[in-house]
C-alpha cells in the first residue's frame, strides 16, 4: 500500500532521513521505533504527504504521490504528537474533515456522535476543545482522524506525556479500529507499546532505516547489532 524508495530528507546540511526504502502492507500496524531525533516524525510527515520536499519516490497504492498529492492526501490522516485543537467545540473539531468533504449535516452528526462515543467524549461534545486536558485533546485528535475513515492512520507518539488511563484508552481504540482493516503507521519511543500494538516494526537510527521485521523478529532475534542494542536499552537517547 505504501512504498518508499530511497527517500532522503535534508534540513540544510543535516540529513534527517537517509535513503529510506520500505513497504507497508494494507491493514498493517507498522511501528517506527528509534530514539529522539532519529527521524521518526520526519518519516511520518512524508508518509502523510505533509512534507513533500524530499528526494526519492513515494508510491501510494502504486500511484506516485507527486502526481496526485491533494487526492491521495485525503486517504491518509495524521495525528500529531502535540494535539492541535481548532478554536471550536469538540463536535466541530471532529466534524471539520467531514464538512470539507461535503458530507451532509445529518450524516456528519451521526458519524461524529458515534466516534465521540467510541473515544468516550460524547458528553463533552459541546465544550471548547481547547479547554480539555491533554489526554482528552489527544482523544479528540484521534476521533477527528477516525471519523474520516481514511485508509491510513498515521500516529506520531500518540500517548507521549499521557497518564496510564489515557494510554490504555488510546491503545484500546487503536486495537479496535485496526480490526476494521485500517492501516496504522505509528512512531513511538516506547518499545513496550510497539510490542503491544504492532505487527511490523522498523528501527530508525540517525535517519537510517536499520531494520524492518515482524514484531517477534525485531524483539526476539534482531538481525542487526544496532537494533539489538536499542532493544536491550544500550543505545543512549
Amino acid at each position: 500500500m505504501i512504498r518508499l524508495v530511497k527517500v532522503t530528507k535534508r534540513y540544510g546540511d543535516t540529513e534527517a532521513l537517509k535513503n529510506v526504502s520500505l513497504e507497508i502492507r494494507r491493514g498493517d500496524i507498522f511501528a517506527v521505533i528509534g530514539s529522539s531525533g532519529a527521524g521518526k516524525t520526519t518519516l511520518l510527515r512524508i508518509i502523510s504527504m505533509l512534507d513533500t520536499e524530499y528526494s526519492g519516490e513515494y508510491y501510494f497504492d502504486g500511484v506516485d504521490t507527486r502526481k496526485n498529492q491533494d487526492g491521495l492526501r485525503k486517504r491518509v490522516t495524521m495525528v500529531f504528537q502535540k494535539p492541535v485543537m481548532f478554536n471550536a467545540s469538540v463536535f466541530d473539531n471532529v466534524a471539520y474533515g467531514l464538512k470539507i468533504r461535503g458530507v451532509g449535516s445529518r450524516e456528519v452528526k451521526k458519524r461524529v456522535e458515534d466516534v465521540l462515543r467510541l473515544v468516550g467524549l460524547y458528553d463533552m461534545r459541546k465544550k471548547n476543545a481547547k479547554k480539555l486536558s491533554g489526554g482528552e485533546q489527544q482523544r479528540v485528535a484521534l476521533a477527528r482522524a477516525l471519523v474520516l475513515e481514511t485508509d491510513v492512520l498515521v500516529l506520531d507518539e500518540p500517548t507521549a506525556n499521557l497518564d496510564a488511563v489515557n494510554v490504555q484508552m488510546i491503545e484500546g481504540i487503536i486495537r479496535e479500529i485496526t480490526r476494521d482493516g485500517v492501516t496504522v503507521v505509528m512512531a513511538t519511543h516506547n518499545l513496550y507499546q510497539a510490542k503491544r500494538l504492532a505487527n511490523t516494526v522498523a528501527y530508525l537510527n540517525s535517519g537510517e532505516l536499520v531494520e524492518v521485521g515482524s514484531v517477534e523478529q525485531i524483539f526476539n532475534s534482531p538481525n542487526n547489532e544496532r537494533t539489538k542494542k536499542f532493544i536491550m536499552g544500550e543505545t543512549y537517547y
Binding site: S48, D70, T77, V84, F86, N87, Y96, I100
Partner: protein
C-alpha cells in the same frame, strides 16, 4: 493645596459631564468618528497585507515586516509634521485639500495605525499558521481551505489589532493638531477639534475643569472599547 487644586478640577469636570455639555459631546463624538474611520481604513488595507505577510514567503518579506514593525514606534508629531508638509497647499498632496479637515485627520491617523494592524495581524497568523495549516491539510483540506482555516483561527488576534489601532488613533495628539488644526466654531460644519487637541488647548488656557472632563471621557472611551474587545475575545477564543 496641590490636592485641593486637583480635586476641585475633578469636581468641576464631573459636574460638566453630568450636565451633558453639548460642546463636549460634539467633540467626543467627532473623536470617535474620525478615529473610527481611521481604524476602519487601516483594517481594510492592513488586514490583507498582514495576512499576506503572515502566510506567504516571498523576497523582501522580512524587510517589509521590519518596516512595519519599525513604524510601530513612530512619534505622532513626526508623522503629523510629514503629513502637514505633504498635505499643505504647496505640498505634493495639496490638491487633495485634506489639510484642516476631519478626513485629513482620519487619513493621517490611518497611516499612523496601519503598522499596528499589519504587524499584529501578521503575528496572529504566524502564531497559528504552521500547526493549523498542517492539521487542516491532514484532515483533507485543500491548500485554499487550509489558508482560510488559518485566517479564521487567527481572527481574535486580528480583531485585537483593529481595537489597538482605534485606541492608538483616538489617543494621539500630533496628527490631530498639525493636520486637523483644532478648528472649532459653534454649530460649524468644518470643525476639526477632537478630544486630545482640546485637552491640550484647555490646559494651555488654564481651564483645568474642562480639560479633566475631556480626559475622563477619552479614558472612558478607550476603556469601554478595550472592555468590549476583551469580552468579545473571551467569548471568541474560548467559546
Amino acid at each position: 493645596m496641590t490636592w485641593e487644586y486637583i480635586f476641585k478640577g475633578i469636581e468641576g469636570a464631573l459636574g460638566m459631564i453630568a450636565s451633558f455639555d453639548v460642546e463636549v459631546a460634539d467633540i467626543a463624538l467627532r473623536s470617535v468618528k474620525v478615529s473610527g474611520i481611521a481604524a476602519l481604513m487601516a483594517a481594510i488595507i492592513g488586514i490583507p497585507v498582514g495576512v499576506l505577510l503572515g502566510i506567504s514567503t516571498f523576497r523582501g518579506r522580512d524587510l517589509l515586516r521590519s518596516f512595519f514593525n519599525g513604524m510601530l514606534g513612530i512619534p505622532t508629531v513626526v508623522m503629523g509634521l510629514i503629513l502637514y508638509l505633504f498635505l499643505a497647499p504647496a505640498g505634493p498632496l495639496g490638491s487633495l485639500k485634506l489639510l484642516y479637515t476631519e478626513m485629513g485627520i482620519s487619513f493621517g491617523q490611518m497611516l499612523l495605525v496601519l503598522p499596528i494592524v499589519v504587524s499584529f495581524t501578521a503575528n496572529s497568523i504566524e502564531g497559528v499558521e504552521r500547526e493549523i495549516r498542517e492539521l487542516a491539510l491532514t484532515l483533507g483540506a485543500s491548500r485554499v481551505e487550509a489558508t482560510l482555516k488559518v485566517i479564521s483561527e487567527a481572527s481574535a488576534g486580528v480583531m485585537l489589532s483593529v481595537i489597538a489601532a482605534f485606541n492608538r488613533a483616538i489617543a494621539e495628539l500630533g496628527i490631530a493638531l498639525m493636520v486637523g488644526g483644532n478648528i472649532f466654531v459653534r454649530e460649524g460644519a468644518l470643525n476639526t477639534r477632537v478630544l486630545t487637541t482640546s485637552i491640550q488647548m484647555y490646559v494651555a488656557r488654564g481651564d483645568i475643569d474642562i480639560a479633566i472632563a475631556l480626559g475622563i471621557i477619552l479614558l472612558a472611551i478607550v476603556f469601554t472599547i478595550t472592555a468590549i474587545s476583551n469580552f468579545l475575545q473571551s467569548r471568541w477564543v474560548l467559546r
